[in-house]
Structures are given as C-alpha cells and as structure tokens.
Symmetry: C2
Subunit: 333 residues, 2 copies
Amino acid sequence: MNPPTVEDVARAAGVSRQTVSNVLNAPQRVRPETRQRVEAAIEQLGYRPNRVAQSLRAATSRMIGYRIEPMHPHALGSMHDRLLHALAEAGRAADHHLLLFTADDPDDEVTNVDALHRAGAIDGVMIYGIQSDDPRPPALRQLRIPFAAFGRTGADAHAWVDIDNAAGTAAAVEHLVTRGHRRIAFLGYPEGVAVGDRRAEGWRTTLDKHGLLDGSRHLDLRGEDSLANGARLAEALLEHPTPPTAVVAATDTLAAGVLRTVRQRHARLAVVGFDDTPTAGALDLSSVRQPIEAVGHAMIRALLGPAVSVAQDEPAGQLLAPELIVRASSALH
Amino acid sequence: MNPPTVEDVARAAGVSRQTVSNVLNAPQRVRPETRQRVEAAIEQLGYRPNRVAQSLRAATSRMIGYRIEPMHPHALGSMHDRLLHALAEAGRAADHHLLLFTADDPDDEVTNVDALHRAGAIDGVMIYGIQSDDPRPPALRQLRIPFAAFGRTGADAHAWVDIDNAAGTAAAVEHLVTRGHRRIAFLGYPEGVAVGDRRAEGWRTTLDKHGLLDGSRHLDLRGEDSLANGARLAEALLEHPTPPTAVVAATDTLAAGVLRTVRQRHARLAVVGFDDTPTAGALDLSSVRQPIEAVGHAMIRALLGPAVSVAQDEPAGQLLAPELIVRASSALH
C-alpha cells in the first residue's frame, strides 16, 4: 500500500486538493466545518504532509552536510568516526539529520556543498580537519552557506569548536614529570598542521616551565602519522646518546608504533598517545581523550543556534578541555 | 548573495515563471527563440533547478537511509564505520547520498524509516546487524520500503549481502592446523546471534574435517564481545587441564583480550581474530578481513539495481568471501 496522498485526502473529504492544502497551510481561509472534515480524513488515512514539499515552503531541509572521507588505511583514526556518531546524536536532539557526501579535496568539498545547498538538500555544513590557509571557511562565507568548523587556525571569523590540544599534551607532560621523567620526547605531525603544532606547543611550554626543555629539545621528531613511522622514530630516539625515558606522541597511531618498538627491544620507555582510540584501550596505552560528544553538541549549537549568523564578522569559538586517561604504558615506568 | 531563483531567470529573460518552468520540464512547448533566451539567462545567472522541487516531480530523493548507532565503548567495532565509508563511496558512484538517522531499537528504526520514507526524504534504507527473527525485514516489506540488508538469517525473502562468515573461521582453522596446532579453541558470541553461529560453524566443521573436533569440543566458549571478557575467557582456557595451543576468536575485540592475557602470562598461544580492525594491525594480530568495500557496492546495487523489486518474493542474496590476513600472533608459534 502506498502512503496516502493529498489527492486521497481530498477524495475522502469530498473537497478539492487546494482546500486540503489550505487546511494545512492557511487554515484560517477554510470554513470550520470543512476544516474538521479534512482533518478527520487526514487522521483516518494516516496522511502525513510531504516533508519535501514542506521544506520548499519552509526553506529548510533540516539536513546538515558532512563530508565523509575514505578510510585511512594506515591510521587508527577513528576520531572522525567518533565525531560523526556524536554529530548524529546531537543532531537528533535538534531534529536534524546528517547528509553524508564525499569529495576529492577541499575545493571539491566546497563545490559539492554549494550544489547541495543551492538544491535545498542541506541547510548548512560541518567541516573538520582545518588547515592553515584552509580554503573552505572563506569560500563558504562568500557563498553565505552556514557552517561550523571542528578545529581552528587562529583568527577564525566564523563559528568553530575545538579541543584545547596544547592543554592535552601539557597534561601528558605534567603526568610524566610527576612520575620522575626528565627527558621527554615528542613525536608529531610535520610542522604547519595546526593541530600538530598546538600539540607540540603544549609539550614545549610545559617542559620549559619545569626547566626541562634544554635537555629534551633534541627529542622533537616529526613525520607522517603511521604505525611504521612511529616505530621508526622510536628506534631513532632509543639510539640517541641521551635517549628519552618517556614519549608524548601526537596520535595513538604514532604511539602504537612506539609501543611496537618498545616491545621488540624490551626497552624501558613510558608512552602517552592522543585521541584515546579503541586501540589505546587494547594496548593499555595512556592517551589524551577528546570530549567528542561535547564537541558534537557544541557544533550543532554553533550551526543552528540563534547567536550565529552567516553575516557576522566576530569569531564565535568554543574551546573544550581534553582529559588524560592513564594506563599501564606510562604508569609502570 | 542568494542563489538565483526561477523568478530571477524569468526577469532576466523577459518571460513568465511558467515559461522558465516549461523550458526546464517540457521544452517542446516553448518556441526555440524563447528557449534560447531562457537558457542563456540560466547559464548567465548560474541558476540550478531546485533539487527538492525536482525530487517532488521525480518522486525520488536520491537519498538512502542508514541508522547510525552510538559508539560501543567496549568494542573495537569499527566494522560498521567501515561499512558506512564504503556505502558513502559506493553511493557516490550511483549519485546517491546517505541520510544518517538514529533509533533506540529495531522497532524505533522501522518507525523512523517509515516517517522518512513517507516524507520523501529517503528512497530506501540499508539495514545491518541482522538477528534471528529480526523484526525489520517483514516490517519494511509490509510498508513497501525498498531496503537491502548486510547480513542474513537463512531464509531471507529480500535483497541481502553477506560475507561468508563460516569460510572465514574455516580459513583461520586451516591456517592453524597447517602450522601444527591440534587443540584449537573458539571464543564467540552467545548462541543465537546469526553471525556468531556461522563463525562457530566454520571452526567446528573444519576441526571435524581434520578429525580434531573431539579434542577441541570443550574449548568452545561464548560471551559478550568485550576486551575484558576476551581476557577472562583466555584465562579460563589456559587453566584447563588440556589447554589449547591456538584460539580463533569471533572478533578482534575478543582476540585483543586474549592477547592481553597471553602477554601478561607469557603464554604460548596462537591467536586469530575477525574483522581486521585497525587495532589488529597495531597488535600484530592475524585476522579475517571482510571485503567491506565490495559489500558497499553490492548493497548499493542490490538496493538501486533493476533486478530488485520490493514486490518480489525470491531471495536475492550475495555472499562474498573474506580473506585471512596472517600476522605475528599466529605465525610465530
């Protein structure tokens, strides 16, 4: 049985299609007696006004775009999947659904968002993985497409939500210093990646605060975010004349690589990762946990809330605190 | 600047709104000269016909519903996230987007799918996590909502795609037998979960084929899919008077728990997991890999392909072969 249409309702109530439409959209135009007859027919048939037609009238799709990227084969990276779950749950509370789309690169992403927005398929979009000089924020502002960003570059004139990455690595260093470590290495992304730079900064400033930076400065290594690279960088650290006794890694993927080298060499090296992926639990890896459910809610509020207008020029950011989860990888050394 | 409307085009071309609509939907009704003028205005203004309006005419949203579940805190479970990525990529090739929705349970899922389908927001839905006596397939059939299932129960009168779970554990057992193991345990879901029963069946029949079932029958343990439970079941196995020398686990989560016990006790126990999660790579865990990209494409074809009609009564299933990835956890013993 197909769902009942407005024609079915009109036939059952003995009125025109237009009268049914008036009952739904301009009831004051319809005589009470007729209105009751139409409403009874709507009730009896279980008719629901077409949401697509409603969205045409309301100029809102109640849908939020989200670019889903292909799986990264080398990273544990469930971070963006966690964000997706969090946004879906937070969107539900705000009566919005997520529309997933794919794109080849940031420019293609903007093109696809523009097409979806013009077509009325989405009201706005969530973006993440913000880079320095990211082309998406200015392009979306110019297109007047509402958006909220997970991440920031520094002087963002739009709605953003971020976690305090520097505070996360700072907490990791404080924890290691408290446990007696004096030479603490950092493994991170290549410089220029905003998230990676902030994680490096938290490590650097906290070591400096404790007067330990000079003894650890040579232990700052960067490279691609893969398990193999984490293992390789850990070998380089252990072969140094003054090796570290602890490592703070910018991701759990790098940290898992470090743990592999530690296990193979039976080395004594405390390790803290970042993101608290499911793998961290499986490896007993201490890790900095992002409050991703709170990020999801904050992003939905930022996108849909009354405070945010696409015309405004003031930044509207929200910085959330991460939490260090301590496990055996840093608690046994 | 707002996107141009049909009114803007009409004004620029000096014609009525209806004429613009005719050019878009019934060009044969419009004189060539007028048509060219309207088409030039469309081109010049960058006007794109409203997709929502088009979908009203075409009675298709080009959108596929997918229920996203909350993150499981205890499982490594990136399997459904991998499916989501695969469906998004496969949907892109078929010019369809995914609409994510949430639900409290299978009945709530059907209710939400029904509402979205009636509202014209989705053309059909993908379901997964199929259980024995799953209420969703019969309910969706009755509502005449197109759907495809990842997973099956046995006599499914609808479109489904599944991996050959029994073949996966069979390959794991063959691998272990070849390496000299004679007592091979199985850790799995509680009985009655279709996927878990098939994984147990592959283990049982392959041991039986090699005449090893009698010596291993007591090593079949079931329980919840968590790391802690995997570790606990592994302890129970190792304390048995005739302990196994190898374990096939129904999930990487259980296998990771086994590895934790193995490491703590310095036990000699080969381990093979299932799903080839990112964690399997980090733990050097052998695991059965599901061809999830192929599953995504097969599900999109099953849902959108011409062969499948919601009215048909014949099952339309596709069974895909998994692949065993051998790593150190089973190759060094």
